[in-house]
Symmetry: C2
């Protein structure tokens, strides 16, 4: 039970609903919304309430187990991928894919080592690439 361990490490009570939600999140390869997670978890726990899903996702992102992101359209989504990465949004289809490139990470973090932001402690840098798909039926991808 991977999820249980993660929860305890984060000082969260490992309730059934939390374990189910976390397992679903870890299996997710996309960036689910609250409603997505509600629908998914309802399959396993039909009695789960939407408020619990809200509270749970919130406590997960508080604890740093997942990240909260927002699309340009203002839709709240959750990102189970914690490693430093960017996002590619298609502003037509609202698709999001993760973007990860070591070279870019180096580039940006080196840059900010030189250029200091004054009176500010940087916690996270995120790069968002917005645009549109050329062939709407295929998905976008990184070379």
């Amino acid at each position: 039970m991977e999820a249980k361990k993660l929860l305890l490490q984060a000082n969260l009570k490992a309730t059934h609903q939390r374990q189910v939600i976390l397992n679903l999140l870890l299996a997710c390869k996309n960036h689910p919304t609250v409603e997505n997670m509600y629908a998914l978890s309802k399959k396993e726990i039909p009695s789960i309430s939407l408020a619990t899903v809200y509270k749970t996702l919130d406590s997960f992102s508080q604890a740093g187990i997942i990240n909260k992101t927002l699309t340009t359209e203002g839709i709240v989504r959750f990102d189970p991928n914690l490693s430093s990465h960017g996002h590619i949004y298609c502003t037509n289809s609202n698709e999001i894919i993760d973007y990860f490139d070591n070279e870019l990470n180096e580039l940006v973090s080196n840059f900010f080592k030189k250029k200091k932001v004054k009176n500010f402690h940087i916690k996270k840098i995120s790069l968002n690439i917005m645009g549109t798909k050329i062939d709407p039926d295929k998905s976008m991808s990184i070379k």
Copy 2:
């Protein structure tokens, strides 16, 4: 009347409320919320309705006159600065300042010239730096 010209260029009818809102936006050095703009415009047009402000800001961002941004907390804000720039968010105070650096822009755009994103047409790249202020009474700034 700078605003009027901009509106006509964007194929939007130059109504009084739109001109007032756009002028306020152009004078703004920060990233106002809908409510901010409602309060400001109400000073000049006491009868203006909140729905109009919503619709107006929406049509402006549709037309590309301003940009819609979102804080990590999900607050919708508008950014009258259209040139390519990033944002520095303080996750405690919800302050946002623009971040612009030519060197960084070069760095990132060169990077994406090499690394192609397949089946995707990039429209905008935005870099968001999240963190906290060290001295909460002062503002953050870039060296």
